[in-house]
Symmetry: C3
Subunit: 658 residues, 3 copies
């Protein structure tokens, strides 16, 4: 557990040593407490196979340490050197097109290549031996933004071996994938392809499991080399990319100490109701606070239009991240190399070595971080509401959207937004996680269902929990095969209803009840009350395609000590808010209404008290009504009643004891 | 000749035998009379090369037969098994990108592969030997939706051999393709490529002929194995895909007994003025009634938004198909396999094995089919109007649109719609077919002209026929070379006009005459009256690009006992209707005006009397004025004067004899 | 130096000799003075390797000469024959996808292939030996529209050799490309890839230099074979494609006598304010008059919608070209071959061998060219204003737009348009050209700066010139590395300001000064006055993203005897015109205001007097006020005061001496 950190990505290898002192002086001026180094420096650390040059890095770490700046070291495997690609061409990944990846961008590696594993272990081992016990290195980042999927023959053979391990026999595999369909039956493991484009849903899903396993193995190889050299206090993380979906993040975070992520806006500006979900997702990977290992100092260089964040916007974003559980924030990057692909990326220092205008905003954040670091030390995020996230469901829906506009993440976020608009803390967690601490659980499009999940949800409701099931729930098993029940599969007993049929919508259909008169968009499910059950009908569809007319859209069923909402509509925004408010009211969960754009979020301090982050995410002044007198830890002022917020203003308040 | 059939695609190999009885019971309930089996079951029938397992299929056929349900058997070559791809990799097609097709979807075969021919003959021979003489198998479908074009080296060599056969000498080929242009002269057959992307128009056109020949050979190989085992009453068909255009359908239907097609709407709803043309096209392949081998039970799974047909819409569609000559309608499919690529496709039975809401609509159709089957037995479609369809013209125009919006099929359909809106029966037939039975012939964009065609059209007009020539007529020969005459080539004598120049339009240009004040879109042709001719000018262009201003757009020329309309404009919808109405009036062809969305179509019964299908293709009630008292064979009621139609309502009426 | 020529591309090899006389008779009727022959006729000239057939070509040249029509001969290397591709497959280029180019379109060659060089030298040598001394051949065109970039292994090896020559050592290369970034350091020349897609900016830029060098070598090989056979009066040119950007045109035009270009509109109509820049660019390649080697007779065939030019538009375009320095105009093509890819291209003669309507317009142009040929003989374009064009800057910006809408050519043209709207002659010249003759120099987005350039600009201003710097100036060095100064790099001293930061804009931001109240679009640069400098602030940004609010946008700095404008905004059209007018006023450069669509341009006759081309580029009548009595050389009439111009009318006037 560390205090709130403020930092930058720093690449001393891009600059002559004479420059370093000036850089570090400026970092100190900006209240930087941590620098990340080394994650793309393989060719600087091992210029020739097996010959290491760590002197420069050691020097940089020491100079930083002397200035009170700790180091996070990255293993450099995301940028393998040219000599490796030349000597071992099989370390280069094969793209979906069949073409080999080109050297010179990043992640051109085959994640399963034995030669690449050997080379990776060697460099990690050498770094660990040299820096593992350094008092200045507080933690490690493995690789960088895992993202490559390889389609080479070696991967295909590994995939076939993985399938043999997973299924045991081809009969079992053929059965689970229904390969009698389209004459796909396999009589030899070697016949099975890596799927490219649409293919058998079973094959497609398990290939994602294989990609997950591939990264898990690769990560483990690095951990095997690294861990033995680390004191217990030194942690290991990886910087993920939010909703990036090539692998199962719950599996990959199992073996590291906490999750990090790299937060970029790209084109446009922050939409905090959407980005909050990503912070909460990343926190949910290990149900622990996380690091923001990279974030955008003003602008990026890789988007369509690389506009700058408005003045003050980055500061609001920084506190938004902290409010959602970030324990560190590092800007990428300190200064651009004079060459290379990211010359135009935002930075604190410009090409001339001087401060960019953004430097001042960063400095203010650094100073404020330092100001509240003691207060926030050990604080956590507590929530009574969970949103369940399931990669299998997501992948299955992405393979077969059925409505091209139906997007799993957007659907989950649709539910998230209505909660976040009421300033509720939400945990976005694995659909396989324990639910003991929650009062309300929302399971958006929980397509994939197995007995364990069903049992867990049943137990949750039984003991008094409130469960919300949405469209596209309970349709598939773990092999991406249809369940031989109507939706929501084995949850029907809880729901008190079943789905008679589902409808991909070309146009919205009317849906109405006491709570709202609205529409369902993209999707609708015709509910039917099960014999012997008597759920309350909350809304029905109106006249539309003839099949849905006057049918049940939303039902509320008591079960055990709890309740299950089955929502067969994908509601418009206003109706979704009305329904959500009702659900929250039913559950007696406290909402905090604020003007649009004003976010209020508590972290729970070690003393159990909440500290509230109040953030104006708009450019205009806003007023927030406080229920009690509040002490602002940034200004030292006490406010009561109406509190004024300038554009992008932030307050960090605790309740003033009378 | 069989009675009107109602059926489904059924895949017993997806299910345990214990389930079959229940499926068949439900089929009976839905009035199913025919099931199609086997067309994707190669790996179930021949799990190991040369080892056949037909027991399950025989069992299924027998169980169906016991329930009074006949079987249509599909040869399974559209889904070759994994062991074949593994043992004979050359059976896999090569895509345009140079990459080999992946196993596991369909039609991954090289249609010319000798190894694939061998394997196809073996499985077809084995099926034929086993089931050819079965009294329960009433017909066969070869392969499924031919569609693959292969670019492998073997195909290239076959193509070169085909060219040698077609042209005899390279001199002849070079001459027809004008290869002096861009230094393309070939001095060795082996130099000739398969065209990928834009290429020499002659090469591009003849490659389509080669694709046609390839499928013809492949089809013949199957027929050679199959026919010897079939009694004379058992027919052979193939299920085509409407306007799909990779090969010449007139050539491919020559050797089968009748044509079938697979009718899917995908996203959206039926537009009967457009779909009518596709039924009429398919009927025109052999100028015989056809089967609807597959159609959409509610929704598909492969489109952008897989919306469901409105309640009642599928029934209206079913009768629309019958009204245009369908003698059978089979829903695809009965029930989805639990796995495989089409889990979400519409079906009659859902994943739980129970009836979907659509089942009731299908059942009603089945019941009604049975009700009128005797009445319709032997009935046919008769028409006095023909629309000429020419694949060579279409391909040539698709290769070189000159206006990216100009589409051959859309242009033909533009003419079709104005006829269909007046409820005229239309035959869409080959531009090479005999015209003896017609009074009016429309030849939309008949770009490719040879002497035989010109002579046939001349004879048609000479004997009193009315011929309509449209834009882009008479520009090319059979080798896709320009004719050395102005348009319309050798038809100029008939037309009394020639095209001085043609214009691809960026904006519509005005065109006006006594019949209408409208515009021409996409295209315009400046007509000039030939010396010594005196056609009537029906419309002229208005002020536009300077070249067209005040020039002749549409002319009507008497020739022999007939007339030729030359229409140098691509008219807006209202003007097109006005012109069409005039042409129909001139020809004294009876129009039947109905409210928009109401279709009226006769089939001619064996007694020579017409039976009228009156279909409301809209969701709203409509009223149709009947000229005589009508007996509705569905309701048994007699109506006279105004007849009411609810949304999607259908009546099948004959004139009530007084 | 030749008189104004009027001509066509003619392909006698497409037609039997019996037709030639008629073609030539029609050319005479159209006042054709020159025909281009041979540039795609390789297979007709060398049907078998090493066996030449020039008899037909000699015959055609002679028949043309007898009709008074001179010949320009093209070397046929842009269309290598089939036998060459077959025998030497390495002569085929490799595409970016890794696939080999297909025979049968054009430019399928690898420009570096030794076998292709050998074959090219042989055919050029043979042509030169046969026709080099012909009195009828007045000039030669090498190849045709250089455009292919090859990605084969041979090119990669040549590229690596080129880099070794350029950089000497890998250390030097690594340093200039900052390869420590992303671990890109090269330890062996053989490791360096040809960049495909985004890559290291240094590598990407120098690859364009390699492409330039490749064409330079290929061109030199042809010149080596050709020049020894040519009398001094016979010139050599190449037909470029305007703004086409795969190579540096200044380098490639160094070794030829003058530049030519092929001017096509494609879809739509002429926008003379944009096309004028392309003529001026082509003239600027060698700062000499140029030839329009191909232009569009009505319509093309390769665009989306191949609309025709309006009647009269082509004539206005012809004079527009001459007004900008064209000394010849040749229509492509005389008549389409009956086959081949361009059957539908515009031409003077149609498929039937008769005149198309366009023939008359061409004939009028030919007749008028003859009418003024003596007058214009030796006349040139003189300009006091230069726009600097830099391929390195352009490429760098195209690789890294930072705002997807920011386009170098569009930005340069934005500046051009405001000048051209005031009817000023403008030279578009290399940023490395001498500036002695100019009073105003505009350097749009001169991103790449080196000492020589900076010194040259400094000297220009020092001696009294006016220099305009725009956005994105002075950011990079010749290796595409960031300069270690703020923008505008070493020009800051001249500018009196530096760029504190640059902003890619998602929305326009307000910018205002005394001259205008407008907006900046796509881009904005925050200027800061340098210590000790006192430029005039011409405009400031308004409230927007917080960083730009109230900051300096445009400044004017006196330096030496001159002035420097630094324009940190990408102004809307009206503001850009207001600023430009002010700059022109400041420089006392004479503007000629005309109604929109009326162009007035002078050429300077050998006697030093100007001849004015007045062109109505609109379809509507317009009136132009003349400052003096004018003699129109086309009509022979004298006008004074208001002169009427019908749609697309043209006058060629000199001042009538009293």
């Amino acid at each position: 557990m560390q205090k709130l950190q403020f930092g930058v990505a720093y690449y001393p290898e891009h600059w002559p040593q004479e420059r370093w002192a000036e850089d570090i002086r400026l970092m100190q001026a900006a209240h930087v407490t941590v620098a990340r180094l080394g994650e793309f420096a393989w060719s600087s650390m091992e210029p020739v196979e097996g010959q290491f040059n760590f002197a420069w890095l050691e020097k940089a770490i020491e100079m930083l340490a002397e200035a009170g700046i700790a180091t996070v070291l990255g293993t450099p495997t995301a940028a393998p050197p040219a000599w490796l690609a030349q000597k071992y061409p099989t370390t280069l990944a094969t793209e979906e097109t069949g073409r080999q990846a080109q050297f010179g961008n990043r992640c051109h590696y085959c994640v399963n290549s034995p030669e690449f594993h050997t080379a990776s272990r060697r460099i990690v081992q050498a770094m660990a031996a040299r820096f593992g016990s350094s008092p200045h290195v507080i933690g490690w980042q493995l690789d960088n933004e895992y993202n490559r999927v390889c389609y080479c023959d070696h991967c295909r053979a590994e995939f076939q071996a993985f399938l043999r391990e997973r299924y045991g026999t081809l009969d079992e595999l053929n059965r689970h994938w229904s390969t009698a369909y389209w004459s796909q039956s396999y009589s030899d493991w070697a016949q099975i392809p890596i799927p490219i484009g649409p293919h058998n849903p079973g094959l497609m899903l398990v290939f994602r499991h294989f990609v997950t396993r591939s990264y898990q193995n690769f990560q483990q190889a690095q951990l095997d080399e690294l861990r033995p050299h680390l004191p217990p206090s030194v942690w290991v993380t990886h910087n993920f990319m939010g909703w990036f979906g090539a692998f199962d993040h719950y599996t990959l975070t199992r073996d590291i100490d906490f999750a990090s992520w790299d937060w970029y806006i790209g084109t446009g500006h922050i939409d905090y109701l959407t980005t909050g979900a990503i912070h909460d997702l990343t926190r949910g990977f290990k149900q622990k606070n996380f690091w923001l290992m990279e974030t955008q100092p003003g602008n990026v260089n890789w988007s369509k239009t690389n506009n700058v964040l408005n003045r003050g916007e980055a500061r609001a974003m920084a506190w938004h991240a902290v409010a959602h559980g970030a324990d560190a924030l590092l800007y990428w990057q300190w200064r651009s190399a004079l060459g290379g692909q990211e010359q135009y990326h935002g930075s604190l220092i410009d090409q001339s070595g001087r401060q960019r205008p953004f430097f001042d905003e960063a400095k203010r954040i650094g100073q404020e971080f330092a100001q509240v670091a003691d207060l926030l030390f050990g604080s956590i995020i507590q929530s009574k509401v969970a949103l369940l996230n399931c990669y299998d469901s997501r992948w299955s829906l992405e393979f077969q959207r059925h409505n091209s506009e139906f997007d799993y993440v957007r659907h989950l976020t649709h539910w998230y937004r209505a909660l976040a608009a009421r300033n509720l803390n939400v945990d976005v967690i694995s659909a396989d996680a324990a639910l003991d601490q929650y009062e309300l659980v929302i399971a958006p499009a929980l397509l994939v269902l197995d007995e364990a999940r069903a049992e867990k949800l049943k137990a949750f409701v039984q003991r008094g929990g409130r469960l919300v099931l949405t469209v596209r729930t309970g349709m598939k098993d773990r092999h991406n095969a249809l369940l031989p029940q109507r939706q929501p599969g084995t949850l029907a007993e809880l729901a008190g209803v079943e789905v008679v049929d589902y409808y991909s919508l070309l146009e919205p259909v009317p849906v109405a009840g006491e709570l709202f008169q609205g529409t369902s968009q993209l999707w609708a499910e015709r509910l039917q009350i099960l014999d012997g059950q008597s759920p309350v009908v909350l809304a029905c569809f109106g006249a539309s395609n003839g099949w849905l007319d006057d049918q049940v859209a939303i039902a509320l069923n008591p079960y055990g000590n709890g309740f299950v909402y089955t929502v067969g509509a994908y509601l418009d925004v206003a109706s979704q808010q009305a329904l959500t408010d009702q659900i929250l009211n039913d559950a007696r969960l406290e909402m905090f209404e604020t003007p649009p754009g004003i976010e209020v979020r508590p972290r729970t301090l070690v003393n159990g008290e909440p500290v509230y982050f109040i953030i104006n995410h708009t450019r205009l002044p806003q007023t927030v009504s406080l229920p009690w007198a509040a002490f602002d830890h940034l200004t030292g002022k006490i406010s009561a009643g109406e509190m004024e917020f300038a554009g992008y203003a932030v307050a960090i308040v605790t309740r003033q004891k009378d």
